[in-house]
């Protein structure tokens, strides 16, 4: 077992403390793990199956059924483009294309430098502000392609600033 695997297992065990081992806790447990680790690593799912005493396939089927769960590590910043109706008629798909073009990755992927991951979300209920993109939990209103460039630029500047401070 690699160090990483050991670490994941330990983290999961710590998270499971105080939670009942009933099947109905499966989704809340997976949500908790994802909150902590950013995704659901295979070892974490195995650990959960053991803890709840259910077949491993049951954990996997739940993890893959729901849109919320991801099985690969996220980037440092998460980009969620809203695909709701109001966003769509105001050009949500154009915004998504702009993110894909700028980050050079597809939906569900992470950029090679691990800075960003890109995904869609069905609707965040900010329809009056359409089109929106959720960047690191903050809803960005009226996110058209120009705004996409602006958001990316602000992250780039922030990164440069951080590096300057480091040196």
């Amino acid at each position: 077992m690699s160090d990483e695997e050991v670490e994941i297992k330990e983290k999961v065990r710590a998270l499971l403390k105080g939670i009942g081992s009933k099947r109905e806790n499966l989704i809340p447990i997976l949500q908790k793990i994802q909150e902590e680790l950013g995704y659901l690593p295979p070892d974490a799912m195995l650990e959960v199956a053991r803890f709840l005493n259910i077949p491993e396939i049951d954990v996997y089927s739940v993890a893959t059924f729901y849109n919320q769960f991801r099985l690969t590590p996220p980037g440092k910043h998460s980009i969620r483009v809203c695909m709701g109706t109001a966003c769509h008629v105001k050009g949500g798909h154009i915004t998504l294309a702009a993110w894909q073009r700028r980050l050079k990755i597809g939906v569900g992927e992470t950029s090679p430098d691990r800075e960003f991951d890109l995904d869609t979300v069905a609707c965040v209920g900010c329809c009056a502000m359409a089109p929106v993109t959720v960047v690191d939990k903050k809803v960005q209103a009226k996110a058209d392609p120009t705004r996409v460039d602006g958001i990316l630029l602000s992250y780039q500047l922030q990164k440069e600033q951080e590096e300057k401070e480091k040196n």
Binding site: K22, F65, N67, M83, C127
Partner: protein, 642 residues
């Protein structure tokens, strides 16, 4: 402490806030407000107040319904009416405090409206929408701090619970039955009847579930209520739980609504502290607890049996009914599942009686309905109107009409289960039955207005894309049929459609409706059926001419800069183009779009100053003149009304 004492204390504190000589500042920080920058405004207000060493009450409130003008701030200063300001930014917020709170200048140019009628400024009552609005469920939204239980109590909250606990459970059920309250989640099933069946079903413990899995894209009513007035939903749940004899309650909220999750969780803790939840509620021998469950992003979980499966820790797949959920639901026990708004109505009905409720609405649909107005409408936001209000009144009077002076084309109502209704249907009264007859459905209340720039085929394709991805895969017709329909629609929007495709779509739609177990499959074809019924010619133009009349389908359009309109010295489009596809033709001093590079992102249209308005869209794309071969004469053939 007895309820009367709690209430007295809360009311005296509430009165103190408002009757005090201290100014009150309310900032709307629901998700919509936050998206527009409400938290930055709040911070600016706090900083300014500190800097000026002022004594002010500052509260966060929920959604005021005027989403088009977010961020919203309400200032209340003794001697003035309460004034609501729209489009506030941190600089304006600072100025408002310096000018209005410190000096007596209310900055009239930034006022949206006053909350009370007065001689100084127009109030919200003077807005055309106030004639149609009737706020019952939204009464507290935007006025109280959703994180303070005392604000809710001071405004009459938990009074109904206290009254209900003095009644017999069957009295409550019969009162709700008599009120004809119907499920506001969309299906419109009579709530009282559900309760009655559950109450008389065998099995312990019984469960009550509040369905806040508002998955319809384009809907945000439940989110706004949960974020702005969570206690009203909790109170309704406790009363319903008492009426049906439930011991446990679940409130199912989408994980995509993090703020709603946080505020509901906070509300549950407060309600427990005040003994509105837990054991021996308000000194009675009724025990009831509420757990928050976060939905993990599956549209199908809006369906009762799928939602129950997901609480049980399984993939959210629906099951056959009967047995009905009220007989055999969560963990196999009798369960009632109601929408957020249905439950939020319960305290009002208990407090005012069924007869009061029966006064509003139409013959078969009573009460009010909450709508989320979005899309190409001027006043986007949240509105509550009596059932029976027409679509025209809602869109043109309350919503203020279509943006940018464009022409109304259709209204999409009911989300992926609903349909697109044209101009001719605008005088339909909004209630459960009329909308169903027209091919759409009320759904939970999402309403997206579409104008002449929206392609109906593309909108139908969009919804099929959604339902196809969200189909759980249990029923073959839903799983494969929606995929086939989507493929056909994609072909049509890309100019590869055939006339016989339209017949195939119609047949597939009927088959999917007949062969699916749950509401998702049974209603998935609705957007296609309604657009085929009302906008068939648009489909035909796509197929026969390879042209998109609304200029929306990306494959079928191209962008073009009209040489005669382009201001030669202006460079607005060149700088904003996200892919550097626009350059200046040196010889003729005009801007040219490189069609190979263009990604059709619409940025140049937005960037071109309105006085030039030189960028247009053409369909089919081969109508764009080629520069090297055409003379200026050919360019003149290009008209804007393609």
């Amino acid at each position: 402490m007895k309820f009367e004492e709690i209430k007295k204390q809360a009311q005296s504190r509430w009165r103190k806030i408002w009757n005090d000589q201290t100014p009150v500042i309310l900032v709307g920080t629901a998700t919509c407000g936050r998206a527009a920058g409400a938290l930055e405004v709040l911070q600016a207000i706090k900083d300014t107040v500190k800097k000026q060493n002022l004594n002010c009450h500052i509260y966060e409130v929920g959604c005021m319904g005027h989403c088009y003008a977010e961020p919203l701030v309400i200032l209340r200063k003794p001697g003035f009416p309460s004034i609501c300001y729209g489009h506030v930014n941190p600089v304006l917020a600072e100025n408002l405090i310096n000018h209005f709170i410190l000096n007596d200048d209310p900055c009239l140019e930034f006022v949206l409206g006053a909350l009370e009628e007065n001689d100084l400024i127009p109030s919200f009552f003077d807005f055309p929408r106030s004639k149609y609005e009737k706020r019952i469920l939204l009464k507290n939204c935007g006025h109280i701090n959703p994180e303070e239980i005392e604000h809710y109590i001071a405004n009459g909250g938990y009074e109904s619970l206290s009254k209900a606990l003095q009644m017999k459970p069957e009295e409550i059920v019969s009162e709700v039955k008599r009120s004809k309250l119907r499920g506001l989640g969309g299906a419109g099933f009579p709530a009282g009847e559900k309760w009655d069946v559950c109450r008389h079903s065998e099995g312990e413990p019984k469960y009550l579930i509040c369905n806040g899995d508002e998955g319809d894209p384009g809907a945000f009513m439940d989110r706004a209520i949960l974020e702005s007035d969570p206690h009203s939903v909790l109170e309704g749940m406790v009363i319903a739980g008492y009426a049906i004899g439930a011991r446990h309650g679940y409130i199912y909220v989408r994980a995509e609504y993090p703020l709603a999750v946080q505020r509901v969780q906070n509300a549950i803790h407060q309600a427990e502290e005040y003994k509105f939840l837990g054991e021996n509620i308000l000194g009675s021998n009724f025990n009831f607890d509420i757990k928050l469950f976060q939905g993990s992003g599956a549209f199908v979980c809006g369906e009762a049996t799928a939602l129950i499966a997901s609480i049980e820790g399984k993939p959210g797949m629906p099951r056959h009914r009967p047995p009905r959920v009220a007989v055999q639901g969560l963990f196999g026990k009798p369960t009632v599942l109601n929408n957020v708004k249905t439950l939020a109505y319960v305290p009002h009905i208990i407090k005012n009686g069924a007869d009061w409720f029966l006064q509003t609405g139409t013959e078969k649909s009573k009460g009010t309905a909450v709508f989320a107005l979005a899309g190409k409408v001027v006043n986007t936001g949240l509105v509550e109107v009596p059932m029976g209000t027409t679509l025209r009144q809602l869109i043109f009077q309350v919503g203020g009409g279509i943006t940018k002076g464009k022409r109304f084309k259709a209204v999409q109502i009911g989300g992926p289960s609903g349909g697109c209704l044209p101009e001719s249907a605008l005088d339909l009264p909004i209630d459960f039955d009329s909308l169903q007859e027209s091919g759409a459905m009320m759904g939970s209340g999402g309403m997206v207005v579409l104008d002449e720039d929206d392609c109906m085929v593309e909108v139908a394709r969009y919804f099929l894309d959604f339902t196809q991805k969200e189909s759980c895969g249990k029923c073959t017709l839903c799983r494969l049929g929606t995929k086939q329909m989507l493929d056909i629609l994609e072909d049509i929007t890309k100019g590869r459609g055939k006339m016989e495709d339209l017949e195939t779509l119609q047949e597939l739609a009927e088959d999917i409706k007949a062969g699916s177990l749950c509401g998702l499959g049974r209603t998935a074809p609705n957007p296609v059926l309604t657009t085929l019924q009302y906008f068939r010619e648009e489909y035909e133009v796509h197929i026969k001419e390879g042209r998109c009349p609304a200029l929306m389908c990306q494959t079928l359009i191209a962008y073009y800069i009209l040489p005669e309109k382009c201001a030669r010295g202006c460079d607005a489009c060149v700088g904003t183009c996200t892919v550097e596809a626009i350059s200046t033709d040196k010889k003729r001093r005009i801007k040219v779009i490189d069609q190979e590079k263009c990604v059709k992102c619409n940025t140049c249209v937005a960037a071109c100053p309105p006085q030039y308005d030189a960028v247009i869209k053409l369909s089919p794309p081969d109508r764009v003149p080629r520069f090297k071969i055409t003379s200026s004469g050919a360019e003149n053939n290009v008209s804007k009304s393609s």
